[in-house]
Structure formats: structure tokens, C-alpha cells
């Protein structure tokens, strides 16, 4: 019997589920290994009988918690896919603002009709068994996690920063180019894909376990940057993680 899998989304852009559709021929191969029973973005069929639930997006309102708890109840394994689900991601930018004010700016008099709270990752609401990081997720990384789960293994996740991969790729360091980069404290696994394309690491995979803050401070001082510069950049994706620390 092929394991049954389901995809769900909360507050997010659905770019991670698109990466699954973007597997192209590998998507057909995936269909050979698992039975997809729910994937609203691409299929009409739906079943609550599934083994693995992939969840995209942050939880941003109380009313969505029940749906998450139901998914947790139905699934043997819950996987958070993408930055919004795994770490809170870019949605947590608004957590630094007064949410009532934000709501009023956006919906004016009708603000009371739409409830919301601080954007949070899925594991702030229900236990999560595995993570696929990134904004968006990397297709190979997704397949790696799926393969590990099918083999009954816990997927391995890098515990070192993006700099390790970036050095291996022989990129010119962003700091050397006069730019600010959060690669030194961001979890690797993306093969430094943004720096490879000529930009910087924005931190979408979240803080690495035990980030070496002292050495990062040294880097900032060496390049004449301030802690304020750093905080601004950290807030882009690390908001929820920072608040928890």
C-alpha cells in the first residue's frame, strides 16, 4: 500500500506547493511512490484519510488552529514546508507592528470583521515531525525529505550556516562587496542559491541551531556595520524565532 499524503495551506503564497508541481517528470515519479489524497491547488478530490500531511503557510488567526489540530489528529507525520510554515517567515514582519492598527489601515471600518493574531509557524500550534525550509522550498530538498520519510528515517537537516556552502561555491563574500548578508547565522541546505545569483542571503531558512552570534558581531564590526543594520535584516524572516529567544 502506497502511503497516502495530503497538502494543506494556511497564510502563504502557495509557492512551495508550486515547487511540488514544478517537479515535472519527478512529480510523476512521486505519484508512483505515494498516493496524493488531497492537494487543493491541483486536485478536486479530497480525503481525510492520510499518513503524511505537508503544510504550507503560517497560522495567522485563531480560527485556523482547529483546522491544524484536525490535520495533526488525522496524520501520522506532519511536515512543515516553506519558511512561513517552518519558521513563521516573512509573515512575521507584521508582528513588530500594532496589529489593531495594521487591521484598521487595511480594512478601515470593516476591520472588526477580520480577526488576526501574530503570524506564527505551524509548530507554535501543533507538534511538527519534519521541516522543509526555504522561501520557496528547494525541489531536491523536498524530495530528500520525502524519500527519508518513506524509508522511515528522520530527514537530515544541515546544522551549519549558509557560509559553508557559499565558500564551497567560491562566491565573492557579500560583505567584501559592501553588502549586508545574514548567511553567517542562517541554516544551510539551499546551496547558497541567492548569493550564487549575485545577491545576498536574506535568511529565509531561518536561524541555524546555535548561531555563533559573537563571531557574527565581529563580522559586523569588521565591515563597519551596526547592530541596528543587523536587526533590520534579521526581522525579514527571523521575527518569530527572535521573539522566542
Amino acid at each position: 500500500m502506497k502511503p497516502k499524503v495530503a497538502f494543506f495551506d494556511f497564510a502563504g503564497c502557495e509557492g512551495d506547493q508550486l515547487q511540488v508541481a514544478n517537479l515535472e517528470e519527478d512529480f510523476l515519479a512521486l505519484l508512483g511512490q505515494v498516493e496524493i489524497v488531497s492537494f487543493r491547488e491541483v486536485m478536486k478530490e479530497h480525503s481525510d484519510n492520510y499518513d503524511i500531511a505537508f503544510i504550507e503557510g503560517s497560522c495567522t488567526r485563531l480560527q485556523d488552529e482547529d483546522r491544524l489540530k484536525q490535520i495533526r489528529k488525522n496524520a501520522k507525520i506532519v511536515v512543515a514546508i516553506g519558511s512561513c510554515a517552518a519558521i513563521g517567515g516573512i509573515n512575521s514582519l507584521r508582528n513588530y507592528k500594532d496589529l489593531d492598527a495594521v487591521k484598521k489601515i487595511v480594512y478601515g471600518e470593516s476591520a472588526k470583521l477580520f480577526d488576526t493574531y501574530a503570524a506564527r509557524p505551524i509548530d507554535a500550534v501543533i507538534p511538527v515531525d519534519a521541516y522543509v525550509y526555504g522561501c520557496p522550498i528547494d525541489r531536491e530538498d523536498f524530495l530528500h525529505v520525502v524519500k527519508s520519510l518513506l524509508l522511515g528515517k528522520k530527514p537530515e537537516t544541515p546544522t551549519y550556516p549558509v557560509c559553508v556552502e557559499c565558500k564551497k561555491n567560491e562566491n565573492v563574500c557579500a560583505f567584501e562587496r559592501g553588502q549586508f548578508c545574514v548567511g553567517p547565522v542562517t541554516r544551510a541546505g539551499c546551496n547558497s542559491c541567492c548569493v550564487n545569483e549575485g545577491t545576498i542571503c536574506w535568511g529565509c531558512r531561518g536561524l541555524v541551531d546555535n548561531p555563533n552570534e559573537n563571531s557574527h558581531k565581529e563580522v559586523l564590526i569588521k565591515y563597519g556595520l551596526t547592530v541596528d543594520d543587523a536587526i533590520g535584516k534579521f526581522r525579514l524572516y527571523f521575527g518569530w524565532q527572535e521573539a522566542k529567544r
Binding site: C13, E24, E25, G198
Partner: protein, 436 residues
């Protein structure tokens, strides 16, 4: 089932991007309720970008949508560049047009092959088609992959582009890489013809429905407008993009977390069919022939034909991309650093970026302070502009199909929603609204 009662409640319409619901309530043959509503969680992007730097806005607003992240990035960059007085080179302009073609092609092929084709084949998703119609599915996948490879090459990624930055590109492809892409695009043409043939054989399954409405799209005297142009309305003519608020007039509908919009009528339509109706004369030859194959020409008032208009546009994307690569080659591709970062001086100002995203005209409007920090933002999303039109189409279509079994009514209404290819994550990014 004219005299009976019926409740249709399609909670979370499938095979669309995001969460939208259809509510229909018929009592003894009388339609008491026919509603389209959006339940997606709101995301507040306009509030989130306030306080952020000009160098980040395209990165943040790209996340409004995973499907049209290139369109959002480009609208964002144009708004920032307008505000800060930055111009881009002729070469970068061509490369950006290629980026938009790549996204348009990717998005349309995904919609037609994964989301629409199952309806026409009478199945619930592309999954069973992978068994019953494998060659067709493979042709679609091949086209989809070519579009994604093009995004990868031009933007450095398929979703949430990296290379597109204020003032140009952080990194550009080599002419050799562009030539390889050109070959793939040429090879895509027979595949496209095969898909066109498949849709032609199934086109009779699109309901023959017509409701007159207003169409709004960008227009340009020299080309089929996607990256740039004036705003054109099929009712009122053209106006510069900076006057977008005159057209969009967004308003809050209490049952929907997304905003709605209207211009001179109760609603208007944006997207492939709007573009085709307005810019038909500027379609290149192969795209024009594809439209003729389906007898599609202006003014077409059947929203289901938006699917066919998308197919025509994919042909245009391929044809025009080949032309752009030829032009880049003829002009000689200027090389640049692989970590290019154009010099930008922050200053106070406002700018508006308008582009045609796959689902229609998209506006980003930013104000920056002297330090280049965003103080105000407004984004008007294609799908929001279509919500009103979707509901009015539903209300007009429903009486015509009341005699059908409930299952068929439900499917036809779902097909109508899907024809608009709504992008609901986008549409609930939340917009500032003025109450009077």
C-alpha cells in the same frame, strides 16, 4: 430541476490558487443567493513593507504570490525605480520582458494543463490523466519545464526571482545560454501546436455563455503590452498608469477578506481575455493563427474563452521571446559583473509600477522618505479586480443552467471560477481602503 430547491456550497473551490467559496441557494426555482467569497487568511503586505528599505521591497512583495512572483517583483521594481529616478538599459529591458514571458508561460501552462484540462476530460485532477493520457501530460510537462528553465536562466530561480534588482540585474545569462534557451523555445512550438489541437478538440465543452462587461489591460502602440504601456479600458479609452486609482476603485465586501474593484460598470475583467480583446491587432502571426483556430477575436464576452486566450498568449510568449533573444544577439550582449549592484541614491518620492501579470493588470504604488524607507504602499492585484465580474457572471450564468442536475451546476460554476484563474493568496494581500 426547475421547481425544486437546491443549496450549492462549494467551500474552498479546488484547482485554484487560494481559498474561495461559492454559495448558491435556490428555493422552488427562485435564486435566493448566488455569491462568490474569499476566506483566505489576510496577510497585510502593505503594512509589512512600511519601514523597509527600497533595496528590499521587491524581495518582500514577491512573496505576495508564489505563482506570479516575477510579475510582483517587476511591478515593485518599476515603482521603486520610478520613485527614486532610476532608469534601466535597453538590454535589461529586453531581459525583463523575457522574465515576464517566462512567468506568463509557466503560469498559463500550469493553469491550462493542470487546472482546466481535467474539467474538459471529466476527471478531478491531472493525476488520473497521467495514466489515461500520458503523452498529453508529458507534452504539458515539457512546456512547463521549458518555461521554468527560462525563469531559472533569466531570474536565477523559478519562484521568487533573485536576479531582478533595482536598476537592472545582479547577474545575467551568457549569449550561449540564451541561444540554448532559444533552441528549446523553438522546440516548444510543435508541442504547443499539439496542446492547441487537444484544446480545439475539447473546446465544445466550454459553455456557450456571454455577458457584456468592461475589459481593462495595458496597451502599447508597438507591441502586445505586458511589461509596459498605458491603461486601456474597452469602455473609456486609454490613460497613463499613474491614473490607476481612477480605474480600480477598490471596496470592502464584508464576506470577503479580499477587496473588490469597479470602474464605470458594476465590475470589470482583467487577464488574458481582456488583453486579447484590447490588443488583438498586435499579436504576432503564430499567436494570431492560434486565436483564429478557435474563432477568438475581439470583442469576446465569454469568460470561459479566457482559457483559450491564455493558450494564444503562450504562443505569443514563445514567439516574442525568440524575437527578443535574436535582438539581444544582434545588438551584442553586454557583459556585467556576476554581483552587479547598480548605484542607487536614496531620495524622497513616489512611483507607480504597472505590469501585466498572468492574471491581469497589476499595480504597485510606493512612497519613500529621503532615506529611501517606504512610508506608504498600495498594491492592486489582478484577481481582486476580477472578483466582482466573477460573481456577476455567476448570477447571469446560473439561471441558464438551472435545469441541469446539481452536480453539473456545481461543476459549471467551478469551471467559471477556474476560467478566471484566480490567484487568491495574491488577492488577500490586503489593501488600504478609503471610507467616505
Amino acid at each position: 430541476m426547475n421547481d425544486s430547491s437546491l443549496d450549492v456550497d462549494v467551500h474552498h473551490v479546488t484547482r485554484v490558487e487560494g481559498h474561495g467559496n461559492i454559495y448558491v441557494n435556490i428555493n422552488k426555482g427562485i435564486i435566493e443567493k448566488c455569491e462568490w467569497s474569499i476566506s483566505e487568511a489576510p496577510r497585510f503586505f502593505e503594512a509589512m513593507v512600511v519601514g523597509r528599505s527600497w533595496s528590499e521591497l521587491h524581495h518582500i512583495t514577491s512573496r505576495i504570490c508564489g505563482i506570479c512572483s516575477i510579475g510582483h517583483s517587476l511591478a515593485s521594481l518599476k515603482a521603486t525605480e520610478g520613485a527614486l529616478g532610476i532608469s534601466i538599459s535597453e538590454q535589461d529591458l529586453k531581459l525583463r520582458k523575457l522574465a515576464l514571458h517566462a512567468e506568463n508561460m509557466q503560469s498559463h501552462v500550469l493553469h491550462l494543463g493542470f487546472l482546466v484540462l481535467p474539467d474538459l476530460m471529466g476527471v478531478g485532477s491531472v493525476v488520473p490523466l497521467a495514466t489515461t493520457n500520458l503523452p498529453d501530460v508529458k507534452t504539458v510537462l515539457q512546456l512547463h519545464r521549458t518555461a521554468n528553465e527560462m525563469s531559472n536562466l533569466i531570474c536565477g530561480r523559478t519562484t521568487h526571482p533573485q536576479r531582478l534588482i533595482p536598476g537592472g540585474f545582479s547577474k545575467i545569462p551568457s549569449m550561449k545560454e540564451l541561444a540554448v534557451l532559444r533552441k528549446k523555445l523553438q522546440d516548444a512550438i510543435p508541442n504547443l501546436q499539439a496542446v492547441a489541437g487537444l484544446f480545439k478538440s475539447l473546446a465544445g465543452r466550454f459553455p456557450n455563455f456571454r455577458r457584456e462587461t468592461e475589459f481593462i489591460a495595458l496597451t502599447d502602440p508597438n507591441e502586445y503590452a505586458l511589461y509596459d504601456g498605458n491603461i486601456a479600458s474597452s469602455d473609456t479609452g486609454t490613460a497613463p498608469a499613474k491614473e490607476y486609482l481612477v480605474f480600480t476603485n477598490e471596496y470592502v465586501v464584508p464576506r470577503s477578506t479580499a477587496k473588490w474593484a469597479k470602474h464605470v460598470r458594476e465590475s470589470y475583467m482583467v487577464g488574458a481575455l481582456a488583453r486579447l480583446n484590447i490588443n488583438y491587432k498586435r499579436l504576432p502571426p503564430k499567436a494570431r493563427r492560434t486565436a483564429e483556430m478557435f474563432n477568438l477575436s475581439p470583442m469576446c464576452y465569454n469568460p470561459f474563452m479566457n482559457n483559450v486566450a491564455q493558450l494564444v498568449e503562450v504562443v505569443h510568449n514563445v514567439e516574442d521571446s525568440i524575437r527578443l533573444i535574436n535582438e539581444l544577439e544582434a545588438a551584442g550582449l553586454q557583459t556585467q559583473s556576476d554581483y552587479n549592484k547598480p548605484e542607487v541614491k536614496a531620495k524622497a518620492g513616489s512611483g507607480i509600477g504597472a505590469v501585466e501579470a498572468p492574471r491581469g493588470i497589476l499595480f504597485h504604488d510606493y512612497t519613500y522618505n529621503a532615506k529611501g524607507i517606504c512610508t506608504k504602499a498600495n498594491c492592486v492585484i489582478p484577481t481582486n479586480q476580477n472578483h466582482g465580474n466573477i460573481e456577476l457572471d455567476m448570477k447571469a450564468l446560473l439561471p441558464q443552467i438551472l435545469d441541469k442536475p446539481q452536480k453539473d451546476i456545481e461543476l459549471t460554476l467551478e469551471m467559471l471560477v477556474r476560467a478566471y484563474d484566480p490567484c487568491i493568496s495574491c488577492s488577500t494581500h490586503a489593501i488600504k481602503v478609503n471610507f467616505t
